[in-house]
Symmetry: C2
Subunit: 376 residues, 2 copies
DNA sequence: CATCAATATGACTGCGTAGACATGACTGCG
DNA sequence: CGCAGTCATGTCTACGCAGTCATATTGATG
């Protein structure tokens, strides 16, 4: 039994030579046809395609990669979670990658894994990828892996040394600031922050945006409560915050925590938004349907993924050109029913249901999404 | 300038020959060391590893695949959504794949994409994978792609002809049945069903389980309302169901729709669970924190992924052996506050907060998860 | 001490493709 | 009509690794 019998059933896959033989051309010509190279006559192209069809020919990617030095694939490092944010980003990246003709290889890096991102990157490099996307970067100190492909980091500073590192992502700082300012504009004296785990850059950005908003409004900065993105941690934080009567507004670093928070407040007898206003972050699909419908800022995952991949692919394919900076996606505050003016000092013509904010950036409309549930 | 300058910076990656030269051994021996082949002396192994370390050597996966005929990677076909179910399954698959030493290649198939699953599979085969996982199969008729690798279908019948097709997945039918029977056991005369899109096999399974439960209890079968998994569609369905005063219990095919449904009922003035009981499906992380905390059945994504991949890898690596059937993961009903006995006929010693059901399969405990919010 | 098996290593080669270059057919133009 | 330029195709080969088989070294055994 020779080596031919490696694929199943002994009927080894047809190769380009087989197609060539059937079409009466050389192997190289078959290669030309499949790579859309110029200088192939219409007649030959047709014969080749017919022959390939007939044999069920499929290019061997391993051989292509070996011969050309390019794998036409992009590696993605994700956190191993089904969190809405990371999951949405991953899906956006897949779509964008496919649009540009690249395949996707995915590696998780469980949070807390000591090997961490470095190990994930290492594994992608060994698999062979033309570029790497760090989907949700977390701080793990310097990454010491020698990387020889361009790297796209979604929302983090270039945390390690590679020849070509880019960053992309929504302006989380701005988004957080808009969310916080929405509450301040409603008349709240200050805004508490239920932060995400500070190992995540995205969590830090949100903290920073919140700080900036408070600073701009000369508000004092209450202590930060830190969660782990989960609704459960939001609930735990909510129990702490509920006992503090001075809390009238909270900006949660994601919607899940906001939902947990709201429940804790409700369980403690504090009404939302009458006693406490809550703003989330992400605009998860259920946000309009929880009780009360959640005011939040929308993350433009799809746009971010698309822009970022465009950048990455450009750097992969034209290493010389300076990468054109991605246009910042629009900032979108979605006002629903979880925010209201503070209870004590009643403001006439209550500020609810407005998108009044205007910043240094464009804001999308506060779109009523889907069948908009009535307030109550 | 020769071809060597393909990788960036002209400093082409070291190859196994380079390592061999430095270690004073043959290229083949380097290969042996990295593949953990027997018959390598400890001394040589050490020298090789040192040399590799020093040069920053990394195996070239394309060449390995070409030479060995195996890519050591598994392709996953997912729907292009950030839905909790598919996303969780994908993460579970990644974890499981890495545990078995396989890399992951991911392709989306946008729902409604005419090319659909067939195209996704085709693309994976061209990339070269040793096995394929169809993560959330939907019905697209016969898939006519010739597939020569084993295929694992999560929860669907073998919908196309490949030499080796397996299925895995939780027993959705049973889960749906347990959910429905929970409502029937509470005393509801019948249970309505808010179904998922029927192109999805998982949606069909849940419908079937619901049917089975009704049939077993001699309940009549009310008309089915179909959603698209989204909370928005749940809301729309809820508006329909709210006008029908006879509706006292609804089994929603996933938690998101259940959340939308509950909101629509609330907006229509029907209280949950006092007037209408609602059971979801999945046990999404926010389920304990929405209003009211959602009774639901938990999908054991991680266990399903792990079992399924074990099966797939076994078939890949030992094509001869009969695949050992996966053990069915436990069925877990999580009773929270969205279900209660029907309003009219009050049943003494209300059946809430029990996991009384016992079926042909083991049930996990109705674990109080995380900081359990109090009922109200 | 010769013989054989187990161990350790190397030489050679093919995997299927695309890159470099050669070659032949044809075109247009002075 | 001859020569340069374009087009269309072919030949040869490297890509980097693992498979196959040969060979050298050991130790044990009768």
């Amino acid at each position: 039994m020779t080596r031919q019998t490696r694929r199943s059933e002994g009927s080894s896959m047809p190769r380009s030579v087989d197609v060539a033989r059937l079409a009466g051309v050389s192997q190289k010509t078959v290669s030309r046809v499949f790579n859309d190279e110029p200088y192939v006559s219409a007649d030959v192209r047709r014969r080749v395609l017919d022959a390939a069809e007939q044999l069920g020919y499929r290019r061997n990617n391993a051989a292509r990669a070996l011969a050309s030095g390019r794998t036409r694939s992009i590696g993605v490092v994700t956190l191993g979670t089904a969190l809405y944010g990371p999951a949405s980003l991953l899906m956006g990246i897949e779509r964008a990658a496919r649009d540009t003709g690249y395949a996707l290889r995915v590696v998780n890096t469980m949070e807390g894994d000591p090997a961490g991102i470095a190990g994930a990157v290492e594994s992608l490099l060994e698999q062979g990828v033309d570029g790497i996307v760090i989907s949700e970067p977390i701080d793990e100190g310097e990454i010491s892996v020698p990387v020889d492909v361009p790297v796209l980091s979604c929302g983090a500073p270039p945390a390690f040394s590679a020849p070509r590192v880019m960053t992309t992502g929504a302006d989380s700082i701005l988004l957080a600031r808009v969310a916080t300012e929405h509450l301040l504009d409603l008349g709240h004296a200050t805004v508490h922050h239920l932060a995400g785990p500070q190992r995540w850059y995205s969590a830090r950005d949100r903290l920073e945006g919140w700080r900036a908003a408070l600073a701009a409004h000369a508000g004092d900065e209450p202590p930060v409560v830190e969660g782990d993105w989960s609704a459960a941690s939001g609930y735990a934080a909510g129990r702490e915050l509920a006992v503090d009567g001075s809390v009238t507004a909270v900006f949660a670093a994601n919607d899940d925590m906001a939902i947990g928070l709201i429940r804790a407040l409700a369980d403690a007898g504090r009404r939302v938004p009458d006693d406490v206003s809550v703003v989330g972050f992400d605009d998860v699909p259920v946000a309009p349907y929880v009780t009360p419908p959640l005011t939040t800022v929308r993350q433009p995952f799809d746009a971010v993924a698309r822009e970022g991949l465009k950048l990455l692919v450009q750097v992969i394919e034209q290493p010389h050109l300076d990468p054109s900076p991605a246009s910042a996606p629009p900032v979108e505050l979605v006002v629903r029913a979880s925010t209201a003016p503070p209870p004590s000092r009643t403001i006439p013509g209550r500020g609810r249901r407005t998108t009044s904010r205007s910043d240094r950036d464009t804001h999308g409309p506060a779109t009523p999404d889907g069948p908009r549930p009535t307030d109550h």
